[in-house]
Protein backbone atom coordinates (compact mmCIF):
# COMPACT_ATOMS: atom_id res chain seq x y z
CA UNK A 1 0.00 0.00 0.00
CA UNK A 2 1.20 3.44 -0.81
CA UNK A 3 2.12 5.83 1.90
CA UNK A 4 -0.04 8.88 1.51
CA UNK A 5 2.01 12.02 1.81
CA UNK A 6 0.68 15.53 1.94
CA UNK A 7 2.70 16.38 -1.17
CA UNK A 8 1.71 13.54 -3.43
CA UNK A 9 -1.04 14.12 -5.97
CA UNK A 10 -3.04 11.48 -4.16
CA UNK A 11 -2.58 13.27 -0.87
CA UNK A 12 -3.79 16.48 -2.44
CA UNK A 13 -6.85 14.94 -3.98
CA UNK A 14 -7.71 13.30 -0.68
CA UNK A 15 -7.34 16.56 1.20
CA UNK A 16 -9.63 18.26 -1.30
CA UNK A 17 -12.18 15.47 -1.15
CA UNK A 18 -12.18 15.55 2.64
CA UNK A 19 -12.62 19.28 2.78
CA UNK A 20 -15.54 19.03 0.40
CA UNK A 21 -17.12 16.34 2.56
CA UNK A 22 -16.61 18.41 5.68
CA UNK A 23 -18.21 21.46 4.06
CA UNK A 24 -21.10 19.59 2.44
CA UNK A 25 -23.59 20.23 5.30
CA UNK A 26 -23.07 23.97 4.84
CA UNK A 27 -23.90 23.69 1.15
CA UNK A 28 -26.95 21.63 2.02
CA UNK A 29 -28.03 24.14 4.67
CA UNK A 30 -27.82 26.94 2.13
CA UNK A 31 -29.51 25.17 -0.79
CA UNK A 32 -31.83 22.95 1.23
CA UNK A 33 -30.95 19.88 -0.85
CA UNK A 34 -30.86 17.34 1.97
CA UNK A 35 -30.71 14.62 -0.64
CA UNK A 36 -26.97 15.14 -1.00
CA UNK A 37 -26.41 14.73 2.70
CA UNK A 38 -28.23 11.42 2.66
CA UNK A 39 -26.30 10.29 -0.36
CA UNK A 40 -22.96 11.20 1.21
CA UNK A 41 -23.89 9.55 4.51
CA UNK A 42 -24.81 6.29 2.79
CA UNK A 43 -21.71 6.44 0.68
CA UNK A 44 -19.45 6.85 3.70
CA UNK A 45 -21.12 4.05 5.66
CA UNK A 46 -20.76 1.68 2.73
CA UNK A 47 -17.23 3.02 2.31
CA UNK A 48 -16.42 1.93 5.85
CA UNK A 49 -17.87 -1.51 5.18
CA UNK A 50 -15.84 -1.74 1.98
CA UNK A 51 -12.66 -0.68 3.80
CA UNK A 52 -13.18 -3.46 6.32
CA UNK A 53 -13.84 -5.98 3.56
CA UNK A 54 -10.72 -4.83 1.79
CA UNK A 55 -8.70 -5.66 4.89
CA UNK A 56 -9.50 -9.34 4.44
CA UNK A 57 -10.03 -9.39 0.69
CA UNK A 58 -7.38 -7.02 -0.60
CA UNK A 59 -4.70 -7.30 2.06
CA UNK A 60 -5.44 -10.80 3.26
CA UNK A 61 -6.51 -12.43 0.00
CA UNK A 62 -9.56 -13.96 1.67
CA UNK A 63 -12.45 -13.62 -0.74
CA UNK A 64 -15.39 -13.33 1.61
CA UNK A 65 -18.75 -13.31 -0.12
CA UNK A 66 -20.61 -12.80 3.11
CA UNK A 67 -19.47 -9.49 4.44
CA UNK A 68 -22.94 -7.96 4.43
CA UNK A 69 -23.77 -10.20 7.40
CA UNK A 70 -21.93 -7.77 9.63
CA UNK A 71 -23.84 -4.80 8.26
CA UNK A 72 -27.01 -6.64 9.23
CA UNK A 73 -25.76 -7.81 12.62
CA UNK A 74 -24.57 -4.31 13.47
CA UNK A 75 -27.89 -2.79 12.44
CA UNK A 76 -29.93 -5.36 14.37
CA UNK A 77 -27.79 -4.63 17.43
CA UNK A 78 -29.16 -1.10 17.24
CA UNK A 79 -32.67 -2.09 16.21
CA UNK A 80 -33.37 -4.86 18.72
CA UNK A 81 -32.33 -2.87 21.80
CA UNK A 82 -34.33 0.08 20.44
CA UNK A 83 -37.32 -2.27 20.09
CA UNK A 84 -37.03 -2.91 23.82
CA UNK A 85 -36.60 0.79 24.56
CA UNK A 86 -32.84 0.81 24.97
CA UNK A 87 -31.51 3.70 22.96
CA UNK A 88 -28.15 4.14 24.65
CA UNK A 89 -25.50 4.22 21.94
CA UNK A 90 -22.88 3.27 24.49
CA UNK A 91 -24.71 -0.04 24.79
CA UNK A 92 -25.84 -0.45 21.19
CA UNK A 93 -22.57 0.27 19.42
CA UNK A 94 -20.30 -1.85 21.62
CA UNK A 95 -22.92 -4.57 21.31
CA UNK A 96 -22.81 -4.28 17.52
CA UNK A 97 -19.03 -4.52 17.48
CA UNK A 98 -18.97 -7.40 19.96
CA UNK A 99 -21.67 -9.44 18.21
CA UNK A 100 -20.02 -8.95 14.83
CA UNK A 101 -16.65 -9.93 16.23
CA UNK A 102 -18.14 -13.00 17.85
CA UNK A 103 -19.92 -14.05 14.67
CA UNK A 104 -16.69 -13.52 12.75
CA UNK A 105 -14.79 -15.58 15.29
CA UNK A 106 -17.15 -18.54 15.19
CA UNK A 107 -17.76 -18.63 11.44
CA UNK A 108 -14.21 -17.59 10.62
CA UNK A 109 -12.84 -20.48 12.66
CA UNK A 110 -14.70 -22.82 10.32
CA UNK A 111 -14.41 -20.86 7.06
CA UNK A 112 -10.67 -20.36 7.33
CA UNK A 113 -10.10 -24.07 7.49
CA UNK A 114 -11.16 -24.09 3.85
CA UNK A 115 -9.45 -22.61 0.83
CA UNK A 116 -10.27 -20.97 -2.45
CA UNK A 117 -13.72 -21.51 -3.80
CA UNK A 118 -14.84 -23.33 -0.67
CA UNK A 119 -14.09 -20.20 1.30
CA UNK A 120 -16.09 -18.02 -1.07
CA UNK A 121 -19.10 -20.26 -0.89
CA UNK A 122 -19.02 -21.03 2.80
CA UNK A 123 -18.81 -17.36 3.77
CA UNK A 124 -21.77 -16.78 1.49
CA UNK A 125 -23.67 -19.65 3.06
CA UNK A 126 -23.11 -18.45 6.61
CA UNK A 127 -24.44 -15.04 5.73
CA UNK A 128 -27.45 -16.65 4.16
CA UNK A 129 -27.91 -18.52 7.41
CA UNK A 130 -28.08 -15.27 9.37
CA UNK A 131 -30.36 -13.87 6.71
CA UNK A 132 -32.86 -16.72 7.12
CA UNK A 133 -32.41 -16.62 10.87
CA UNK A 134 -33.64 -13.03 10.96
CA UNK A 135 -36.30 -13.67 8.33
CA UNK A 136 -37.88 -16.27 10.57
CA UNK A 137 -37.78 -14.10 13.70
CA UNK A 138 -41.32 -12.80 13.60
CA UNK A 139 -40.80 -10.87 16.80
CA UNK A 140 -38.46 -8.47 15.04
CA UNK A 141 -40.55 -8.06 11.91
CA UNK A 142 -39.28 -11.12 10.02
CA UNK A 143 -39.15 -10.45 6.33
CA UNK A 144 -40.54 -6.95 6.64
CA UNK A 145 -37.97 -5.64 9.05
CA UNK A 146 -38.38 -3.22 11.88
CA UNK A 147 -38.53 0.55 12.16
CA UNK A 148 -36.11 2.15 14.61
CA UNK A 149 -38.03 5.07 16.08
CA UNK A 150 -35.08 6.86 17.66
CA UNK A 151 -31.41 6.94 16.82
CA UNK A 152 -28.68 5.99 19.28
CA UNK A 153 -28.30 8.40 22.20
CA UNK A 154 -25.02 9.26 23.82
CA UNK A 155 -26.06 10.61 27.22
CA UNK A 156 -26.38 14.09 25.83
CA UNK A 157 -22.73 14.18 24.79
CA UNK A 158 -23.49 13.68 21.14
CA UNK A 159 -26.63 14.27 19.16
CA UNK A 160 -27.04 12.24 15.99
CA UNK A 161 -30.82 12.47 15.78
CA UNK A 162 -30.52 15.21 13.17
CA UNK A 163 -29.12 14.53 9.69
CA UNK A 164 -26.16 16.87 10.13
CA UNK A 165 -25.12 15.50 13.51
CA UNK A 166 -25.27 11.96 12.14
CA UNK A 167 -23.39 13.05 9.05
CA UNK A 168 -20.43 14.35 11.03
CA UNK A 169 -20.51 11.30 13.28
CA UNK A 170 -20.25 9.14 10.17
CA UNK A 171 -17.51 11.28 8.64
CA UNK A 172 -15.38 11.13 11.77
CA UNK A 173 -16.01 7.41 12.07
CA UNK A 174 -14.87 6.90 8.50
CA UNK A 175 -11.67 8.84 9.12
CA UNK A 176 -11.03 6.87 12.29
CA UNK A 177 -11.59 3.58 10.48
CA UNK A 178 -9.28 4.63 7.66
CA UNK A 179 -6.57 5.60 10.12
CA UNK A 180 -6.99 2.37 12.06
CA UNK A 181 -6.77 0.26 8.93
CA UNK A 182 -3.80 2.29 7.72
CA UNK A 183 -1.94 1.52 10.93
CA UNK A 184 -2.94 -2.12 10.94
CA UNK A 185 -1.81 -2.74 7.40
CA UNK A 186 1.60 -1.27 8.13
CA UNK A 187 2.07 -3.01 11.46
CA UNK A 188 3.76 -6.31 12.13
CA UNK A 189 0.36 -7.92 12.07
CA UNK A 190 -0.44 -6.31 8.73
CA UNK A 191 2.85 -7.56 7.29
CA UNK A 192 1.99 -11.11 8.29
CA UNK A 193 -1.46 -10.81 6.70
CA UNK A 194 0.10 -9.42 3.52
CA UNK A 195 2.68 -12.18 3.51
CA UNK A 196 0.05 -14.86 3.99
CA UNK A 197 -1.82 -13.52 0.98
CA UNK A 198 1.32 -13.41 -1.13
CA UNK A 199 2.46 -16.91 -0.20
CA UNK A 200 0.87 -18.82 2.63
CA UNK A 201 3.04 -21.90 2.27
CA UNK A 202 6.20 -19.85 2.57
CA UNK A 203 4.88 -18.03 5.61
CA UNK A 204 4.22 -21.33 7.32
CA UNK A 205 7.67 -22.53 6.46
CA UNK A 206 9.12 -19.38 8.04
CA UNK A 207 7.21 -20.15 11.20
CA UNK A 208 3.85 -18.38 11.10
CA UNK A 209 0.67 -20.08 12.11
CA UNK A 210 -1.15 -18.24 9.33
CA UNK A 211 -4.54 -19.56 10.40
CA UNK A 212 -4.44 -17.64 13.68
CA UNK A 213 -3.41 -14.39 12.06
CA UNK A 214 -6.05 -14.71 9.40
CA UNK A 215 -8.69 -15.44 11.96
CA UNK A 216 -7.79 -12.34 13.95
CA UNK A 217 -7.84 -10.30 10.75
CA UNK A 218 -11.23 -11.75 9.89
CA UNK A 219 -12.54 -10.78 13.32
CA UNK A 220 -11.18 -7.22 13.07
CA UNK A 221 -12.79 -6.76 9.67
CA UNK A 222 -16.06 -8.15 10.98
CA UNK A 223 -16.00 -5.84 13.99
CA UNK A 224 -15.35 -2.76 11.84
CA UNK A 225 -18.14 -3.71 9.48
CA UNK A 226 -20.44 -4.33 12.45
CA UNK A 227 -19.73 -0.78 13.52
CA UNK A 228 -20.62 0.43 10.03
CA UNK A 229 -23.79 -1.66 10.30
CA UNK A 230 -24.74 0.09 13.54
CA UNK A 231 -24.38 3.40 11.73
CA UNK A 232 -26.41 2.07 8.81
CA UNK A 233 -29.27 1.12 11.16
CA UNK A 234 -29.13 4.59 12.66
CA UNK A 235 -29.00 6.19 9.26
CA UNK A 236 -31.91 4.32 7.69
CA UNK A 237 -34.04 4.25 10.88
CA UNK A 238 -34.82 0.74 9.77
CA UNK A 239 -33.51 -2.81 9.90
CA UNK A 240 -34.39 -5.69 7.65
CA UNK A 241 -32.84 -8.98 6.57
CA UNK A 242 -32.42 -7.45 3.13
CA UNK A 243 -29.33 -5.62 4.43
CA UNK A 244 -27.50 -8.94 4.48
CA UNK A 245 -28.89 -10.42 1.32
CA UNK A 246 -26.08 -12.09 -0.58
CA UNK A 247 -26.34 -9.53 -3.35
CA UNK A 248 -25.42 -6.91 -0.74
CA UNK A 249 -22.23 -8.87 -0.10
CA UNK A 250 -21.60 -8.97 -3.82
CA UNK A 251 -22.01 -5.23 -4.02
CA UNK A 252 -19.43 -4.74 -1.26
CA UNK A 253 -16.93 -6.84 -3.21
CA UNK A 254 -17.72 -4.81 -6.29
CA UNK A 255 -16.97 -1.60 -4.41
CA UNK A 256 -13.61 -2.92 -3.28
CA UNK A 257 -12.64 -4.09 -6.75
CA UNK A 258 -14.01 -0.99 -8.41
CA UNK A 259 -11.86 1.13 -6.12
CA UNK A 260 -8.78 -1.06 -6.28
CA UNK A 261 -8.06 -3.98 -3.96
CA UNK A 262 -5.41 -3.66 -1.30
CA UNK A 263 -5.27 0.11 -1.32
CA UNK A 264 -6.29 2.36 1.54
CA UNK A 265 -8.67 4.78 -0.13
CA UNK A 266 -9.70 2.54 -3.00
CA UNK A 267 -12.71 0.99 -1.27
CA UNK A 268 -14.05 4.42 -0.30
CA UNK A 269 -13.67 5.61 -3.87
CA UNK A 270 -15.30 2.40 -5.04
CA UNK A 271 -18.23 2.85 -2.67
CA UNK A 272 -18.60 6.44 -3.85
CA UNK A 273 -18.54 5.41 -7.49
CA UNK A 274 -20.99 2.61 -6.77
CA UNK A 275 -23.53 4.78 -4.94
CA UNK A 276 -23.28 7.64 -7.42
CA UNK A 277 -23.53 5.33 -10.43
CA UNK A 278 -26.55 3.66 -8.92
CA UNK A 279 -28.21 7.05 -8.42
CA UNK A 280 -27.31 8.25 -11.87
CA UNK A 281 -28.18 5.11 -13.81
CA UNK A 282 -31.51 4.72 -12.04
CA UNK A 283 -32.54 8.14 -13.32
CA UNK A 284 -31.84 7.04 -16.89
CA UNK A 285 -33.88 3.86 -17.13
CA UNK A 286 -35.78 1.48 -14.90
CA UNK A 287 -33.59 -1.22 -16.41
CA UNK A 288 -30.48 0.40 -15.00
CA UNK A 289 -29.40 -2.80 -13.29
CA UNK A 290 -28.62 -4.23 -16.69
CA UNK A 291 -26.17 -1.41 -17.35
CA UNK A 292 -24.80 -1.89 -13.89
CA UNK A 293 -24.22 -5.58 -14.43
CA UNK A 294 -22.65 -4.96 -17.82
CA UNK A 295 -20.38 -2.36 -16.27
CA UNK A 296 -19.33 -4.84 -13.60
CA UNK A 297 -18.42 -7.39 -16.24
CA UNK A 298 -16.55 -4.75 -18.20
CA UNK A 299 -14.59 -3.70 -15.12
CA UNK A 300 -13.57 -7.29 -14.50
CA UNK A 301 -12.64 -7.90 -18.12
CA UNK A 302 -10.86 -4.68 -18.94
CA UNK A 303 -10.10 -2.54 -15.91
CA UNK A 304 -8.62 -4.49 -13.07
CA UNK A 305 -6.60 -1.63 -11.55
CA UNK A 306 -9.79 -0.09 -10.24
CA UNK A 307 -10.27 3.61 -9.66
CA UNK A 308 -7.12 3.76 -7.62
CA UNK A 309 -5.16 2.51 -10.59
CA UNK A 310 -6.88 5.16 -12.64
CA UNK A 311 -5.92 7.87 -10.13
CA UNK A 312 -2.31 6.70 -10.35
CA UNK A 313 -2.55 6.81 -14.10
CA UNK A 314 -4.11 10.28 -14.02
CA UNK A 315 -1.47 11.50 -11.59
CA UNK A 316 1.12 10.40 -14.12
CA UNK A 317 -0.42 12.75 -16.64
CA UNK A 318 -0.12 15.85 -14.42
CA UNK A 319 2.83 17.93 -15.63
CA UNK A 320 5.25 19.78 -13.41
CA UNK A 321 8.63 18.88 -12.06
CA UNK A 322 7.78 18.94 -8.38
CA UNK A 323 4.97 16.51 -8.79
CA UNK A 324 6.95 14.18 -11.02
CA UNK A 325 9.85 14.26 -8.63
CA UNK A 326 7.70 13.57 -5.61
CA UNK A 327 6.11 10.76 -7.50
CA UNK A 328 9.40 9.25 -8.53
CA UNK A 329 10.59 9.52 -4.99
CA UNK A 330 7.50 7.71 -3.82
CA UNK A 331 8.03 5.07 -6.48
CA UNK A 332 11.58 4.39 -5.42
CA UNK A 333 10.85 4.47 -1.72
CA UNK A 334 11.70 1.14 -0.10
CA UNK A 335 8.54 0.91 1.94
CA UNK A 336 6.41 0.68 -1.13
CA UNK A 337 5.51 -2.92 -1.56
CA UNK A 338 3.02 -2.76 -4.34
CA UNK A 339 2.98 -0.40 -7.20
Amino acid sequence: MDRITAFSPRGWSMTVALSLLALLPIYVAVTGQTFYLDLASRLMILGMAAVSLNLILGNGGMISFGHAAYLGIGAYCVGIPAYYGIYDGLIQIPLAVACSALFALVTGAICLRTKGVYFIMITMAFTQMVFYGFVSMEEFGGDDGLVIDLRSQFAGLLDIEGATGLYYFILISLLAVLFLVYRITRSRFGMVIEGARANERRMQAIGYDTYRYRLVCYVIAGAICGYAGALLGNFTHFISPEMMDWTASGELIFMVVLGGTGTLFGPVLGAAAFVLLEEWLSTITIYWQFLFGALLIAVVLFWRGGINGFVDWAADQIPGRIITRTRDWIRRAPWRQRS
Binding site: R183, I184, R186, S187, R188, F189, G190, M191, V192, E194, G195, A198, N199, R201, R202, M203, Q204, A205, I206, G207, Y208, D209, T210, Y213, V216, R332, A333, P334, W335, R336, Q337, R338, S339
Partner: protein, 257 residues
Protein backbone atom coordinates in the same frame (compact mmCIF):
# COMPACT_ATOMS: atom_id res chain seq x y z
CA UNK B 1 26.22 -38.46 24.45
CA UNK B 2 24.22 -35.57 23.08
CA UNK B 3 21.48 -36.63 20.68
CA UNK B 4 21.99 -36.01 16.99
CA UNK B 5 20.43 -32.80 15.67
CA UNK B 6 17.99 -34.68 13.47
CA UNK B 7 17.06 -38.31 13.69
CA UNK B 8 14.66 -39.96 11.31
CA UNK B 9 13.48 -43.45 12.16
CA UNK B 10 11.56 -45.81 9.97
CA UNK B 11 9.77 -43.04 8.07
CA UNK B 12 7.03 -44.12 5.68
CA UNK B 13 4.87 -42.30 3.21
CA UNK B 14 2.99 -43.65 0.25
CA UNK B 15 0.69 -42.13 -2.33
CA UNK B 16 -1.97 -44.45 -3.68
CA UNK B 17 0.00 -47.57 -2.84
CA UNK B 18 3.30 -46.30 -4.21
CA UNK B 19 5.90 -45.83 -1.50
CA UNK B 20 7.52 -42.40 -1.80
CA UNK B 21 9.35 -42.83 1.46
CA UNK B 22 10.08 -46.43 2.38
CA UNK B 23 11.35 -47.15 5.90
CA UNK B 24 13.88 -44.31 5.80
CA UNK B 25 16.39 -43.91 8.60
CA UNK B 26 18.58 -40.84 8.63
CA UNK B 27 20.81 -39.08 11.13
CA UNK B 28 22.09 -35.55 10.74
CA UNK B 29 24.81 -34.60 13.23
CA UNK B 30 25.22 -31.02 14.35
CA UNK B 31 27.60 -29.06 12.19
CA UNK B 32 27.68 -31.35 9.19
CA UNK B 33 26.45 -31.01 5.66
CA UNK B 34 24.45 -34.10 4.98
CA UNK B 35 23.52 -34.57 1.36
CA UNK B 36 20.60 -36.63 0.13
CA UNK B 37 20.95 -37.73 -3.47
CA UNK B 38 19.07 -40.06 -5.72
CA UNK B 39 17.69 -40.33 -9.23
CA UNK B 40 14.55 -38.49 -10.27
CA UNK B 41 11.51 -39.72 -8.41
CA UNK B 42 13.54 -41.14 -5.57
CA UNK B 43 11.37 -39.26 -3.06
CA UNK B 44 13.82 -36.55 -2.06
CA UNK B 45 11.36 -33.68 -2.10
CA UNK B 46 8.75 -35.83 -0.35
CA UNK B 47 11.32 -36.46 2.35
CA UNK B 48 12.05 -32.74 2.77
CA UNK B 49 8.34 -32.00 2.92
CA UNK B 50 7.96 -34.49 5.76
CA UNK B 51 10.96 -33.12 7.61
CA UNK B 52 9.69 -29.56 7.35
CA UNK B 53 6.20 -30.57 8.40
CA UNK B 54 4.22 -29.84 5.25
CA UNK B 55 3.46 -33.49 4.73
CA UNK B 56 2.39 -35.94 7.39
CA UNK B 57 4.24 -39.25 7.25
CA UNK B 58 2.19 -42.44 7.35
CA UNK B 59 4.48 -43.88 9.95
CA UNK B 60 7.82 -43.47 11.67
CA UNK B 61 9.34 -40.80 13.81
CA UNK B 62 11.27 -37.58 13.30
CA UNK B 63 13.29 -36.30 16.25
CA UNK B 64 14.91 -32.91 16.52
CA UNK B 65 17.53 -32.66 19.27
CA UNK B 66 15.92 -35.67 20.89
CA UNK B 67 12.40 -34.23 20.77
CA UNK B 68 9.75 -36.04 18.76
CA UNK B 69 8.50 -33.47 16.25
CA UNK B 70 6.47 -35.82 14.04
CA UNK B 71 3.09 -34.40 15.08
CA UNK B 72 4.15 -30.74 14.78
CA UNK B 73 2.96 -28.49 11.97
CA UNK B 74 5.39 -26.66 9.69
CA UNK B 75 5.26 -23.38 11.58
CA UNK B 76 5.90 -25.07 14.90
CA UNK B 77 8.96 -26.88 13.50
CA UNK B 78 10.23 -23.62 12.09
CA UNK B 79 10.10 -22.21 15.59
CA UNK B 80 12.25 -25.05 16.87
CA UNK B 81 14.89 -24.02 14.36
CA UNK B 82 14.25 -25.93 11.15
CA UNK B 83 14.31 -23.70 8.07
CA UNK B 84 13.86 -24.83 4.53
CA UNK B 85 14.33 -23.55 1.04
CA UNK B 86 12.15 -24.70 -1.82
CA UNK B 87 13.15 -26.47 -4.98
CA UNK B 88 10.71 -24.37 -6.94
CA UNK B 89 11.13 -20.75 -5.94
CA UNK B 90 8.59 -19.96 -3.26
CA UNK B 91 8.63 -16.32 -2.27
CA UNK B 92 6.27 -13.48 -1.50
CA UNK B 93 6.65 -12.28 -5.06
CA UNK B 94 4.48 -9.17 -4.67
CA UNK B 95 6.50 -7.86 -1.76
CA UNK B 96 9.89 -6.23 -1.69
CA UNK B 97 13.03 -8.24 -1.15
CA UNK B 98 13.51 -6.59 2.19
CA UNK B 99 9.95 -7.32 3.32
CA UNK B 100 10.46 -10.95 2.37
CA UNK B 101 13.43 -11.24 4.69
CA UNK B 102 12.04 -8.91 7.37
CA UNK B 103 9.03 -11.19 7.71
CA UNK B 104 11.38 -14.07 8.40
CA UNK B 105 13.12 -12.01 11.08
CA UNK B 106 9.79 -10.96 12.52
CA UNK B 107 8.75 -14.55 13.05
CA UNK B 108 11.43 -14.80 15.73
CA UNK B 109 11.65 -11.27 17.13
CA UNK B 110 8.75 -11.36 19.56
CA UNK B 111 5.15 -11.93 18.58
CA UNK B 112 3.36 -10.45 15.61
CA UNK B 113 0.07 -9.52 17.22
CA UNK B 114 1.12 -5.89 17.11
CA UNK B 115 -1.34 -3.76 15.30
CA UNK B 116 -0.13 -0.18 15.56
CA UNK B 117 3.58 0.49 15.12
CA UNK B 118 5.00 0.59 11.60
CA UNK B 119 6.86 -2.67 11.10
CA UNK B 120 9.04 -1.25 8.34
CA UNK B 121 10.47 1.29 10.76
CA UNK B 122 11.45 -1.27 13.40
CA UNK B 123 15.23 -1.44 13.61
CA UNK B 124 14.91 -4.81 15.28
CA UNK B 125 13.45 -6.19 12.09
CA UNK B 126 15.16 -4.14 9.43
CA UNK B 127 18.76 -4.54 10.58
CA UNK B 128 18.87 -8.33 10.76
CA UNK B 129 17.01 -8.46 7.46
CA UNK B 130 19.58 -6.23 5.80
CA UNK B 131 22.36 -8.29 7.36
CA UNK B 132 20.94 -11.49 5.91
CA UNK B 133 20.57 -9.84 2.52
CA UNK B 134 24.12 -8.53 2.66
CA UNK B 135 25.32 -12.00 3.46
CA UNK B 136 23.86 -13.50 0.28
CA UNK B 137 24.87 -10.44 -1.73
CA UNK B 138 21.45 -8.94 -2.32
CA UNK B 139 21.77 -5.82 -0.14
CA UNK B 140 21.51 -3.48 -3.12
CA UNK B 141 18.29 -5.16 -4.27
CA UNK B 142 16.48 -4.70 -0.96
CA UNK B 143 13.95 -2.26 -2.39
CA UNK B 144 13.03 -4.28 -5.48
CA UNK B 145 9.83 -6.21 -5.77
CA UNK B 146 10.78 -9.88 -5.57
CA UNK B 147 8.95 -10.67 -8.79
CA UNK B 148 11.27 -8.40 -10.75
CA UNK B 149 14.43 -10.32 -9.89
CA UNK B 150 16.29 -12.97 -11.84
CA UNK B 151 16.06 -16.67 -11.13
CA UNK B 152 19.51 -16.73 -9.57
CA UNK B 153 18.60 -13.86 -7.29
CA UNK B 154 15.45 -15.68 -6.27
CA UNK B 155 17.56 -18.61 -5.18
CA UNK B 156 19.77 -16.29 -3.14
CA UNK B 157 16.72 -14.70 -1.57
CA UNK B 158 15.43 -18.15 -0.61
CA UNK B 159 18.65 -18.69 1.31
CA UNK B 160 18.52 -15.24 2.89
CA UNK B 161 14.98 -15.88 4.16
CA UNK B 162 16.03 -19.21 5.62
CA UNK B 163 19.10 -17.69 7.26
CA UNK B 164 17.10 -14.80 8.71
CA UNK B 165 15.15 -17.23 10.86
CA UNK B 166 18.43 -18.13 12.61
CA UNK B 167 17.88 -21.85 12.07
CA UNK B 168 19.75 -24.70 13.70
CA UNK B 169 19.08 -26.88 10.71
CA UNK B 170 18.79 -25.79 7.10
CA UNK B 171 16.86 -28.00 4.73
CA UNK B 172 18.07 -27.06 1.28
CA UNK B 173 15.93 -28.51 -1.49
CA UNK B 174 18.03 -28.27 -4.64
CA UNK B 175 19.40 -24.77 -4.01
CA UNK B 176 21.22 -24.88 -7.37
CA UNK B 177 18.17 -25.89 -9.41
CA UNK B 178 17.99 -24.04 -12.70
CA UNK B 179 21.16 -22.05 -12.10
CA UNK B 180 23.86 -21.40 -14.65
CA UNK B 181 27.36 -22.78 -14.10
CA UNK B 182 28.78 -19.60 -12.61
CA UNK B 183 25.82 -18.95 -10.35
CA UNK B 184 25.95 -22.55 -9.15
CA UNK B 185 29.65 -22.23 -8.39
CA UNK B 186 29.15 -19.13 -6.32
CA UNK B 187 26.29 -20.83 -4.48
CA UNK B 188 28.60 -23.75 -3.69
CA UNK B 189 31.19 -21.33 -2.41
CA UNK B 190 28.56 -19.60 -0.31
CA UNK B 191 27.30 -22.84 1.23
CA UNK B 192 30.88 -23.87 1.86
CA UNK B 193 31.30 -20.64 3.79
CA UNK B 194 28.31 -21.55 5.96
CA UNK B 195 29.81 -24.93 6.72
CA UNK B 196 30.52 -25.40 10.41
CA UNK B 197 28.23 -22.53 11.28
CA UNK B 198 24.98 -24.13 10.15
CA UNK B 199 23.96 -27.74 9.96
CA UNK B 200 22.55 -28.49 6.55
CA UNK B 201 20.58 -31.21 4.91
CA UNK B 202 21.25 -30.74 1.24
CA UNK B 203 19.12 -32.29 -1.45
CA UNK B 204 20.86 -31.77 -4.75
CA UNK B 205 21.11 -33.08 -8.28
CA UNK B 206 24.44 -31.49 -9.06
CA UNK B 207 26.93 -34.21 -8.13
CA UNK B 208 29.96 -31.94 -8.32
CA UNK B 209 28.34 -29.70 -5.73
CA UNK B 210 27.37 -32.62 -3.53
CA UNK B 211 30.81 -34.15 -3.49
CA UNK B 212 32.42 -30.77 -2.95
CA UNK B 213 30.26 -29.90 0.03
CA UNK B 214 28.94 -32.97 1.81
CA UNK B 215 30.42 -34.55 4.92
CA UNK B 216 28.09 -37.44 4.53
CA UNK B 217 25.80 -38.62 1.78
CA UNK B 218 22.62 -40.67 1.88
CA UNK B 219 21.43 -42.23 -1.34
CA UNK B 220 17.72 -42.62 -1.88
CA UNK B 221 16.24 -44.86 -4.59
CA UNK B 222 12.50 -45.48 -4.91
CA UNK B 223 12.03 -44.07 -1.43
CA UNK B 224 14.56 -46.46 0.14
CA UNK B 225 17.96 -45.63 1.60
CA UNK B 226 20.38 -47.83 -0.32
CA UNK B 227 23.58 -46.38 1.08
CA UNK B 228 24.75 -43.82 3.59
CA UNK B 229 28.28 -42.75 4.40
CA UNK B 230 31.21 -40.51 3.65
CA UNK B 231 31.57 -39.30 0.03
CA UNK B 232 34.38 -41.75 -0.67
CA UNK B 233 32.35 -44.72 0.52
CA UNK B 234 29.40 -43.66 -1.57
CA UNK B 235 31.57 -43.24 -4.62
CA UNK B 236 32.79 -46.80 -4.31
CA UNK B 237 29.44 -48.33 -3.42
CA UNK B 238 28.32 -50.95 -5.89
CA UNK B 239 24.61 -50.58 -5.15
CA UNK B 240 24.79 -46.85 -5.72
CA UNK B 241 26.49 -47.27 -9.04
CA UNK B 242 23.92 -49.80 -10.12
CA UNK B 243 21.13 -47.42 -9.18
CA UNK B 244 22.66 -44.66 -11.20
CA UNK B 245 23.43 -46.75 -14.28
CA UNK B 246 21.20 -45.60 -17.09
CA UNK B 247 20.57 -42.40 -15.20
CA UNK B 248 23.41 -40.77 -17.15
CA UNK B 249 25.82 -42.25 -14.66
CA UNK B 250 26.67 -39.03 -12.88
CA UNK B 251 29.32 -40.80 -10.86
CA UNK B 252 31.33 -41.96 -13.85
CA UNK B 253 33.51 -38.88 -14.22
CA UNK B 254 34.31 -39.02 -10.52
CA UNK B 255 35.60 -42.55 -11.12
CA UNK B 256 37.78 -41.81 -14.05
CA UNK B 257 39.20 -38.74 -12.33
Amino acid sequence: MAPALLTVENLNKSFGGIAATDHVDLIVEAGEIHAVIGPNGAGKTTLVAQLSGELRPDGGEIKFVGQNITPLAAHARAHLGIARTFQITNLMLDMTVRDNVALAVQAYAGHSFRFWADARCEERLVEPAMAALARVGLADRAGSIARAMSHGEHRQLEIAIALATEPRLLLLDEPMAGMGVEEAQSMVAFLDGLKGEKTMLLVEHDMDAVFALADRITVLVHGKVIASGAPDEIRGDAAVRRAYLGDEGPLSNEESG
